[in-house]
Symmetry: D3
Subunit: 214 residues, 6 copies
């Protein structure tokens, strides 16, 4: 029993990869993803505050940091949508839930159990903080799938993920931070220029020729 | 729909790692594991035949080759025993089962569905072939955990796996191939000598000194 | 001496990569490849049976499982065709052959040596099973090279491999399973749609706009 | 200019490894480390609260999340102590500082610049939150070096890191959370049992013999 | 103290990656890069000799082999140009310089210190050998960036690197070896044909149809 | 045809790993190994010079840089000694030789063919430079095997390699540089202290207790 087991489990999250076997260009661990989601949530919360909302920062950080901790027990399972179902998804949630509770009762000292039961509870409720988490989680997923598509991963799964993420974000379009994302971030992401192999000859010629005159 | 999806799924099994995040020295994909189990089963079947048993080779190969295919849909989940339970284990089997069926009905032409429903069924029954599979699966797991322990992985999970594998193998100790394994293979595995850092000075001196005389 | 050395060698095949240094997107170990070839051969044999041929399953599985085992001793050498020659290829086969024999005589108990000399013999003979192996080996190679080309690997080696594989498959075009592959699998492989970076703006707009109305 | 560059930079932190070339068993990215430090700080703050201190959670989370962000610009440089010096260390801090500022002025909209200049400032000040960060940063480093030593990494650098981390933690021994760590976590970490190769024969015999009677 | 530390440091250079986190397709260690630069310099020197120049081979090899050794102490930092500055660059050079000296005085026997101080000095001076080094270093960088662009890495950093490398090479366009590179090597690099996914259907059809007639 | 093919081949050497599948802790590419051997040869040559020998530096560098280039065509094959033979070894050398020649005649311009035929010839002759190469090649191999043994790789292959390397070095014990290696480098390598898991409790206690008094 002990917090040592909990601290050690953090390092297991570093080695747990999302969508195992699917990302070809950049793997993402559950630990890294949680970090990125929390950083995105931090920015999103800041935008909300600028627009007059009151953010419960303690709650927002707790939700974002811990939202995927239960994957410690089951891994990250991303079955192609066509073979999955809501029923199966519920089965999994149930499994994760029970294992998380077992873990807390076994490893945490009594006086901290309630706090951590609360922290590891599903955070995507309908508070402002729950909604910011739901959005931030999908923003990171959008970036992850964009990264693969942009580098040429032909796996249709990533288009599915991209579309699903964007649709979820749009469900929260009344939030100021979602408006900010749609208007100020997404266009820059899509406008990313990138060099083609075929441009290289042109670039090379320009440089070599431009240099001749000098 | 199509066999193309099935062929493509084989390559997904190459990228699905067993006990994700736990092996520190040698990762094992589900594809590689299935190969090794089939090769071990081939030897075990040969021993059985030498001792007078009749082996249904077609059945043995089918069982061994396909025994972990359903992990395609859920990954390989190896939750430390202390947080798991039989009930949870059953939940997972159910999930895998349903997804496998969905996959077959969706991707296989009608005339091959029955055959593959049969092939992807749990193979560890009480036929001779089912028992050889159960043994071979654990022999490979024993080797995998031995490989980690021997190289210094301190994770207690591997001792658990080692013990559990050996105990399962012993449940079939009436099989000639299990006797062969216990008497002729296991001792060699355990006797593997290995050099210690501290031996190097001695070895070096012997070589350098032995050479002086020459 | 001992079967332990043989079992241990299976794990070496997990770490032996095909065309070392050439695959940029997905590495393939000899163990994984052998697994995939055996699974493909299983399907191909099933098609043959459906079309009235008699398949010797024991032989087919033995051939497929063991066909690359001798690479244990020499690695997988895929020299660009232009620098190689038949003569060199023969030299290599000879080396592999001799080493395989040495291994069997050294590690296998006497009563199993004949069986394994037979199993590790070149399996691509002109029996139905030998032909199914030749086809299945190339089908997997076709998929491996397709996977690289599709993800954007510009190395011309993969076009060479793709073409050579397809040509070899076509040499067996009288087999029912090759007809099945050409008519029902290959077109699906080639028709794989994949998203381009440039499609993302369009998809994004559709989703965002479609959502506005709601 | 844009927040898109900032979001993209988060993914760069996933690929930036700590002490490049030194960890042999488990690599740690700057993103993963930041996640673990924040999770540890969360627990440490909770202990402080239980002991009557008042924790500014917003500040604690900001400090922990962002404390290594500037490594984006310089990488994580861990020169063996014997070749480094305070002067060199200061030079680096200066470089990181300037680049961080350039980045904020270039990429952040004006109304968020002040907030992020503050967030990316050195967080280890003498507030309670600054001290918890200093401790949590070293607790994770202690775990990282312990992980390597325990698995057999002979590099003396890790002993240096272990000792230096522990000494830094002890500078804050008046904190309740440091007392908790020293009394309730550290002993469990050090007591981690681990199986030796030489134990395997004994374990195996016990299992095999124990089974004979049955 | 000792040359053992120096020999051991060579292996650290194997694990030090260039532009950490940026290359997606092929990582390049400082050791590998140094090897390639030395090999390129060997060819460039040979061209110079063919054209009548006198090459001091001892000096050329020393410069090429050692030119990145000081990165041992700081890693390879490739900050996107827009956030860097000459001043920062000078700061880094200073740091590397001081650490290299400390290392030599600490680890090398007195009689070899002068020789290695000289060998680890910045080699890109205006001797013929210094110029060949400057060119060869950039030729390898050009190839490294070309490799990424050609495989589809969309990171604009690689276009920056490609352009900057080519411009530096052109500064030495009066050298015979640069003329050779521009006229005989660069065009072949740019002309590399590569197969597109969309070509595969055509190739496949040609082969399948061509075969029908046979 | 072209030098571009030659430059490109250098990058293939970066991806060609030595003893594929055997090193568990640190992989070594042919490119990295060639770099280290050349650096070691540089030091060894320097020692020889200090002791009055005349070193042909141009020749030494050429031999060291190029000594493993032909592995480009066959990979690095390190078959366990017990299954190999001199005859097989000769077969391989022959294959490498012929492919290297084919490559030079195909890719190099006529005026450089003679030079490169010479450069890619076996360099370990009985000149001083040939002997320094033979020694330096084995010194690096000694370090590579030491690195694995020291970290706990139990594979007996590494003891074989260690012993064989040392024995080869001793064949050149009349060289001043070998004397230097035996007297001044090897003892430091063997004396490398390293921390054991069991030392950690002691170290920790010392630090914690030492701190109590303060």
């Amino acid at each position: 029993m002990g917090i040592h087991q909990y601290f050690k489990s953090l390092s297991d999250l570093e080695k747990l990869y999302r969508c195992p076997g699917k990302f070809k260009f950049e793997d993402h661990s559950v630990a890294s993803h949680s970090f990125k989601v929390t950083k995105i949530a931090q920015f999103m919360g800041t935008v909300e505050e600028k627009h007059g909302s009151q953010v419960n920062w303690k709650s927002l950080y707790e939700k974002a940091l811990n939202h995927d901790y239960p994957e410690l027990f089951t891994g990250d399972i991303k079955t192609p949508v066509k073979y999955a179902s809501d029923e199966l998804h519920d089965l999994f949630s149930q499994v994760e839930d029970q294992m998380t509770k077992k873990f807390i009762y076994r490893e945490f000292p009594k006086e901290y159990q309630e706090i951590y039961l609360e922290r590891f509870r599903e955070g995507k409720d309908d508070t402002l903080e729950g909604m910011i988490l739901a959005v931030s989680d999908k923003v990171d997923l959008l970036y992850e799938s964009f990264g693969e598509i942009q580098k040429g991963n032909p796996e249709p799964l990533f288009q599915e993920i991209y579309e699903e993420s964007l649709k979820t974000i749009l469900q929260f379009k009344d939030l100021a931070c979602v408006q900010y994302f749609l208007n100020d971030v997404l266009p820059d992401m899509l406008n990313e220029k990138f060099i083609e192999h075929s441009d290289l000859s042109f670039i090379t010629e320009s440089i070599v020729d431009g240099n001749k005159g000098s």
